[in-house]
Each structure stands twice: as structure tokens, then as C-alpha cells.
């Protein structure tokens, strides 16, 4: 049997007694088992690991397809999220919504926020996602040394920036 997180043989078989979902069995290689057991002190990761393990119980094909799914805004793949337990940008909650929902149910037992809300509306999700996308494009332009394009994008970002922003002070422009 292979480890649930990599290609190595699973030598550790861990049964987690989690409420309210009941016992969950995990098959892990030595390295991932160590990581998993050491993380036990930190409950959120345990919850994520067991919830993800549950999703991993899905058939290989479905999982492989899901793993390759990428967020069009930040570029994170579901595989990367699954490995790190961290999402790449706010838009992931929209793009991976149906894939994340079982996880949210498992961790929180709920899927609907109750409580405080910001008093200001944060613009439309689309315009914010666009801005994150532009930042990524700028980064890519810099990487291929297309500084002209990078500077165009920088101007575009500046124009879209939150109008409540105070003007930047001289010290802000120095690095």
C-alpha cells in the first residue's frame, strides 16, 4: 500500500478518533507519519489532514483530476493546497468551492458564516481577483525581464488601488 501523501510505501497505519465523524484510518510513509504525529499538538492541521484523507478515499481518477485543478487567479493547484494545507488567494474559496465544502463541514461542521461583517463592501469579487491576477502577471513580466510590461501593469494596479489609501509618504517609496 502506498502512502496517502506520496509514492513511498505506507508503513504507518494510524486510526484517528475524531468527533463527530468517527474513526478515520490513515496510511502513511514514515516521513509523513512523523509530520502528521508531530502536528497533532496543533489541532487545525490534524483536522485538515483527516478531512483531506477522507477526500483521498475518493477513487484515484477523480482525485487526480481534482489535484490538477488550478485557480485562475493565483495559480495554486488543489494538489499544492492538499500538501500544504494553505490556500493561495481569497478567490480559491470561490474557485474550489465545491471541493472545499466537504472539508469545511468536516472541520467546522458548518458552511455558513455567522457573525461580524465588515461595514464597508470590499468591491466586487471580480475586481479584487483581477488585481491579484495583475500582481501575478507583473511578477511574471519581471521574471522574463519584460520591464516595460511590468511597469504598465504596475500603473494599472495603482489606478485600481483602494481609493481610501492615504498618499504614500516619501519613506514608502524607498526600499
Amino acid at each position: 500500500m502506498k502512502c496517502q501523501f506520496c509514492e513511498k510505501p505506507a508503513t504507518f497505519h494510524i486510526t484517528e478518533l475524531t468527533e463527530p465523524v468517527g474513526p478515520q484510518v490513515m496510511h502513511l510513509c514514515e516521513e509523513h507519519a512523523k509530520g502528521f504525529l508531530n502536528k497533532e499538538a496543533s489541532p487545525p492541521m490534524t483536522a485538515i489532514a483527516s478531512a483531506l484523507a477522507k477526500q483521498l478515499g475518493q477513487s484515484g481518477d477523480v482525485l487526480e483530476e481534482l489535484d490538477q485543478k488550478e485557480c485562475p487567479v493565483c495559480g495554486i493547484s488543489f494538489f499544492e493546497f492538499r500538501n500544504s494545507g494553505r490556500l493561495g488567494c481569497p478567490y480559491d474559496y470561490t474557485h474550489f468551492e465545491s471541493d472545499l465544502r466537504p472539508l469545511l463541514v468536516n472541520v467546522h461542521d458548518k458552511t455558513e458564516h455567522v457573525g461580524k461583517k465588515p461595514t464597508r463592501s470590499a468591491g466586487t469579487a471580480d475586481s479584487l481577483a483581477k488585481m491579484i491576477g495583475l500582481r501575478r502577471e507583473m511578477e511574471e513580466a519581471i521574471e522574463r525581464e519584460d520591464y516595460e510590461r511590468a511597469s504598465e501593469i504596475r500603473d494599472e494596479i495603482k489606478a485600481m488601488e483602494d481609493p481610501i489609501a492615504p498618499p504614500s509618504t516619501p519613506s514608502d517609496t524607498q526600499s
Binding site: E19, A41, P43, P44, M45, A47, I48, V73, C74, G75, I76, S84, G85, R86, L87, G88, C89, P90, D92, Y93, T94, L100, L103, L104, V107, H108, D109, K110, T111, E112, H113, V114, G115, K116, K117, P118, T119, R120, A122, G123, A125, L128, M131, I132, R135, R136, M138, E139, I142, M160, E161, D162, I164, A165, P166, S168, T169, D172, S175
Partner: protein, 363 residues
């Protein structure tokens, strides 16, 4: 905001939340509430370029500086990137920053007030981690303050928020309210009477996490446990605060009190002996590790709150918990110390302070 902090000065005092006062302070060390928030127009930290991280740090700093409330006027804003390892460690020991942010790379910062009642970490796992700490069990005031800081920041920062999922966070375990309320408890009697397992088990059923603090897995423990809410989505802030503050913490406090009473009734002499021995070791040892120090300080703290010994004051003990940690000791000594040297200097520091003398005369 002051763009710096005097770390030598910082090491000499403890923050207000360490003063050992407030409701139930014989058992509850502190109440801490943190909110996780992210800027709406940036990727989460994991997908941030160096430039993104820098922009986030500058944006947040500029917006904080634009706030006129007294909260921010007197605050320190410390850029963590150029800081020495010891200074970062000092902030970890004071719980102003997390170990994670201390050890990570790239542009990151912390803002905190002079009394260390609150801190805002920039570029931790989330763009913003706002936390308020108070001495004793004080959920209401702690929440009011952290909520007010959140309101102020929200006026100048666009938060990532989803109508269905609430405040969006890098890790789905924090999404929704982004709120973690933690109460740090000193539970030596439950440890001595071997009842902690039962407490752990009973808490697991009600969405609360109990975590041992300090020296876990080592020979010594300080008998400190942190209780916090496990879920953040689908429950209002008020419900989460009530769960920890009204339901769980009082119940554990009651268990601990009962265990203390039982110890007094059935094992008073043994307990008194143990407390006195702890005092003896810390007053006479020539070298000592921080774990062993923690273990004995815990016993002394128990002895004081149960009236077995009258000296020293619990404030002194709290101060020693903080200042005998590695970075503090090195700051107080004014130079870096190797392990063996630290053990010797720690023993000397303990002896000096348990004899009722103050920092000024220690050397």
C-alpha cells in the same frame, strides 16, 4: 507610531497581561483573543511574491500610521526582517509574535503597544493577526478591545470577505470569524492527581482544544494548558466567546480547585514538602535548564496560591517565568550566551531574585 522598540528595556519588565491579576488569576494566567484577517487585493502569503509581501507590509504600515486614535500613536512598529535572532526570540517569549513569523523569511512586521496589551502581526500565516492579551479570565474586555482594533483597521484596509464564508483565511480552519479565543490555565493539581486525561477527553466532545504548553514531551512540565475554540465558521463571535469563557474555562477552573482542595485535605504535607523542595532547588542550584526552572516555578506558584508559603509574591514568580527564558536572559546579560553559560546565569538570576533582590544588583 514609533518605528522601533528598545529591546534591552523591554527585557527588564513584563507586559501588563503577566501581572498576575484579574478574575481567577490563581488559576488563569491570561486571556488572549486573536483575529485572522487578509487584505482583499493580495494573494495569501503562500502565493505572495517578495514584492507582494513588501507591498502588504508598506500598505498596512501606512494605513496604521494614518489612524489618529491614541491606540496607534504610542504603538511600536517593528520590522522583523532585519532584527537579530535574539530580539525576535525575545518577542516570541513575550508572546507578541509567533514562533512561525519569527522563523519565516521575507518582509514581515509587528505593531504592539507599550503595555503589550495588543499586537498586530503583519505577514504571518495571514496578512494580519490581531491579538489582545489580558491578565486573568477577562473575555469581555479582551474581546471589546480586539474588536475595536479590528473596526479601526477595517476603516482603512479592505478585508477579504465572502458573504457565505466570512473572513477569508489562508487556512480553511480559521475561516468565518477568524477568531481564536484562548485561555491559559495553570493546572498543577490536576496534573499531580493525574486527571488531565479526563479533562482532555471531556473537552474533545465540545469543539474545544486543550493543549499543553511548554516542555511537552520533555521530562519537566510547567503544568500550563491552553484552552481554545476549535471551530471558527458557523458560530458567532459571541457564541465562541461564551463557549470558552462561560462554559469550558469555568468548568476546568472548578476541577482544578477541587483537586487543590483534595490535595490540601489528603496530602498537605507531601505537597508542602514538594513546594519547599522546589524553592530549595531554585534558591541554591548553580546551573539549571529553562524546562526544569519552569517545573519548579510551577510548584512554587501552586504553593503561593494555596497559602502554603507566603513569599515570594506571585508577581515575582510570573516575572521569573518570563525572564529566565533564553532570549530574556541574554538580553539582561547584555550578550549572547552558550547553553552551559545560560544554565549558570539562569541559576544565578533565580537565586538573586528569590532572595528578594532586584535586577539592578544582579550580575
Amino acid at each position: 507610531m514609533k518605528r522601533d522598540a528598545d529591546f534591552d528595556e523591554l527585557a527588564r519588565y513584563s507586559g501588563e497581561w503577566m501581572r498576575g491579576e484579574g478574575p481567577e488569576s490563581d488559576i488563569v494566567i491570561s486571556t488572549r483573543i486573536r483575529l485572522a484577517r487578509n487584505l482583499a487585493d493580495f494573494p495569501f502569503i503562500r502565493r505572495c511574491s517578495d514584492e507582494d509581501r513588501l507591498s502588504i507590509e508598506r500598505t498596512v504600515r501606512a494605513r496604521m500610521e494614518s489612524l489618529t486614535d491614541s491606540h496607534w500613536k504610542s504603538a511600536h512598529y517593528v520590522d522583523l526582517e532585519p532584527l537579530s535572532e535574539i530580539d525576535r526570540q525575545l518577542l516570541v517569549e513575550r508572546q507578541l509574535i509567533s514562533r512561525e513569523i519569527a522563523e519565516s523569511d521575507g518582509s514581515r512586521a509587528v505593531a504592539f503597544d507599550a503595555t503589550e496589551g495588543y499586537s498586530v502581526m503583519v505577514n504571518e500565516e495571514d496578512h494580519l493577526r490581531i491579538q489582545v492579551m489580558k491578565s486573568g479570565l477577562d473575555i469581555k474586555n479582551t474581546w471589546e478591545q480586539v474588536n475595536r482594533i479590528d473596526d479601526m483597521l477595517e476603516e482603512v484596509i479592505l478585508y477579504a470577505f465572502h458573504p457565505r464564508y466570512g473572513y477569508l483565511t489562508a487556512c480553511p480552519t480559521n475561516v468565518g470569524t477568524g477568531l481564536r479565543v484562548s485561555v491559559m490555565l495553570h493546572l498543577p493539581a490536576l496534573v499531580i492527581t493525574e486527571q488531565m486525561d479526563r479533562v482532555f477527553r471531556s473537552m474533545q466532545r465540545i469543539n474545544v482544544t486543550v493543549r499543553g504548553l511548554y516542555g511537552e514531551g520533555s521530562q519537566y512540565t510547567g503544568d500550563f494548558y491552553q484552552v481554545s475554540n476549535q471551530v471558527t465558521l458557523g458560530h458567532s463571535e459571541a457564541d465562541l466567546l461564551a463557549l470558552v469563557g462561560d462554559e469550558v474555562a469555568p468548568r476546568i477552573i472548578e476541577y482544578e480547585r477541587k483537586a487543590r482542595q483534595a490535595l490540601l485535605k489528603n496530602n498537605r504535607d507531601d505537597l508542602h514538602d514538594e513546594v519547599s523542595r522546589a524553592m530549595g532547588i531554585l534558591s541554591t542550584a548553580r546551573k539549571i535548564s529553562s524546562e526544569e526552572t519552569m517545573h519548579h516555578l510551577s510548584k512554587i506558584r501552586l504553593g503561593i496560591s494555596m497559602g502554603l508559603i507566603e513569599q515570594p509574591d506571585v508577581k515575582v514568580i510570573n516575572q521569573l517565568f518570563l525572564q529566565t527564558q533564553s532570549a530574556h536572559l541574554q538580553k539582561l546579560q547584555g550578550r549572547a550566551l552558550g547553553t552551559a553559560e545560560r544554565h549558570a546565569r539562569r541559576a544565578s538570576f533565580l537565586q538573586h531574585h528569590l532572595a528578594g533582590k532586584d535586577d539592578a544588583t544582579w550580575n
